[in-house]
Amino acid sequence: MAVRDITLGQYFPGESCIHRLDPRVKIVCALVYLVSLFVVQSFWAFGLCILLLAAVIILSGVPFKFISKGLKPVIFLIIITMLINVLFVRTGEPVLTIGKFFITNEGIYRALFMGLRLVLLIFGSSMLTLTTKPIELTDGMEKLLSPLAKIGLPAHELAMMMTIALRFIPTLLDETDKIMKAQTARGADFENGTLREKAKALIPLLVPLFVSAFRIAGDLAMAMEARCYHGGKGRTRLHQMKLGKGDAVAIIVMLVYLGCIIGSRYININIF
């Protein structure tokens, strides 16, 4: 079923040292990594990014097949971005000319660069969600945002909303799958037809799905209130987050990496 193929935001169970890292450290490291991808200006520095990512992937024990599935929904976007770069970059030497139309070497260079950057972005963020339980992730975010609570940012509420949203992704996917099958059994066709027909075919899916979503939300709100939930004030946690030795190693590795990446902007090794 196509709806089951979404990896982004899915957890891959494991016991590796990456899995065991403090979620706060992982979130910060992932953010640093994502930002670093935009700092990089040369292909050889990307090599460094790939090296770090590869190390994390190997350490985490998540099969590459599983990670690369996260690319599927965005592959189209990546291809379009690359095409736009190839077709519209007008600087550099023309390498291919068809009539008035030409493609430059810089266009190809930038397309590859952007493509690689996007792929690494997806992989990098996937590694965070694949190795961190959604609950840990939101707990970590809440902790990281908690200093901002002083200036009025509802850190706990935001984290709770995220937790609930993440928690209901699989539920709603299952629900979608079920309703799709039920309507298919009544002869609904979600795959064939013109765009207009396809859009119309979604009504029998979306209406019951929304009804279900509201029902589930109502039930959940009631269940939470029945257990005296009244917001974040004074709540203690089941799992206290503590930084360990592994976290220290991760932070040091990340700092060294960041230093290298920033340094890479000033060292020019031109392979092209």
């Binding site: 089951r4 891959f12 169970p13 099969p63 097949k65 599983f66 629900e175 079920k178 309703i179 099958k181 039920a182 309507q183 298919t184 059994a185 009544r186 002869g187 609904a188 066709d189 009504i203 029998p204 209406v207 019951p208 009804v211 279900s212």
Partner: protein, 305 residues
């Protein structure tokens, strides 16, 4: 229409850590006009099996074949293929089917199936009205109301009507009574039994309720962790192989279960009685043999004052 399931196997998320073998090498048969019950634990593969029979998912191995009444055979599902045309001959009512209602009015919702089959407006409406009557609802009363205004039991009837309107030859019901009160529960099952006879349907009922199965089914298929472990009449499954059934954690219907307790307690009873009436009769017979008396006999013998 007869349905044969041949060597059916299915694995979900192959190669993933969540990989689950839902079905392995399933063989069974659903005869024309039969009332077949599928029982088994949660997660034993019942729902997956019926979804294959309905042609909604494709197996990894094996196939489901339908033999039409004129003798022609069509594949309902095999690897790389789920047949659309046969799907319409097999109607499936999912668990909590009321959650699939979506139209503004009951009649429109029930019309959804026939409309997808390409019938014209008048024919659609006729089918829908007929289906609503079959489930015991008056199309003139509920037809124009919103399906979301109805009571739980009525919604479920409308949803079942929505499937019946497709005019299937085989009707699959996945726990059709889940979440209903005892009255609604009996009503729905009696209704299904009646529709089966009126419309000459085959019924496949997925159920956890052994009493229902004993009461209605012609044949029982018992599933355990993705395989068929028993297949036969309710008498065979419950009476001959009752102890095996208990081993895989399934219960006996109330009748045989109670008789078994009596027998273990020393009363000489035959536990091969499935229905409430037969069970009562058997107990009375056994008690009489022991010299017990009915209240009337006791009253007769009582000393006159």
């Amino acid at each position: 229409m007869q349905i044969n399931v041949e060597n059916l196997s299915k694995t979900f998320s192959p190669g993933m850590p969540y990989e689950t073998r839902a079905l392995s090498d399933i063989n069974c048969e659903i005869g024309s006009g039969e009332f077949v019950a599928i029982i088994g634990h949660t997660g034993s593969g019942k729902t997956t099996l019926v979804q294959h029979i309905a042609g909604l998912i494709q197996p990894d191995e094996g196939r489901v074949v339908a033999t039409l009444d004129d003798g022609t055979q069509t594949v309902i599902s095999e690897k790389g293929k789920a047949a659309f045309a046969v799907r319409r001959r097999v109607g499936i009512v999912f668990q909590y089917p009321e959650y699939q209602l979506f139209e503004e009015t009951v009649l429109k919702d029930v019309c959804f199936g026939p409309k997808n089959q390409g019938l014209d407006q008048a024919a659609q409406e006729e089918r829908a009205r007929e289906a609503l009557r079959l489930v015991g609802l008056d199309p003139d009363v509920v037809g124009e109301s919103s399906p979301f205004e109805l009571s739980g039991g009525q919604k479920r009837r409308v949803a079942i009507a929505g499937v019946l309107a497709v005019d299937p030859e085989v009707l699959i019901l996945d726990e059709p009574t889940a979440g209903l009160d005892p009255k609604g529960h009996d009503d729905i099952l009696d209704m299904i039994d009646r529709i089966k006879d009126e419309e000459k349907l085959s019924i496949i009922l997925v159920s956890h309720n052994m009493d229902d199965v004993a009461k209605y089914a012609d044949k029982v298929i018992v599933m355990n962790s993705g395989t068929v472990v028993m297949e036969g009449t309710p008498e065979y499954v419950y009476c001959e192989r009752g102890s095996e059934l208990k081993e895989i954690g399934l219960d006996l219907p109330a009748g045989p279960a109670f008789l078994k307790t009596l027998r273990d307690g020393g009363l000489d009873v035959d536990i091969r009685r499935l229905t409430f009436e037969d069970t009562t009769e058997e107990i009375v017979k056994a008690l009489k043999k022991k010299g017990g008396k009915t209240p009337e006999e006791q009253a007769e013998k009582a000393p006159q004052k």
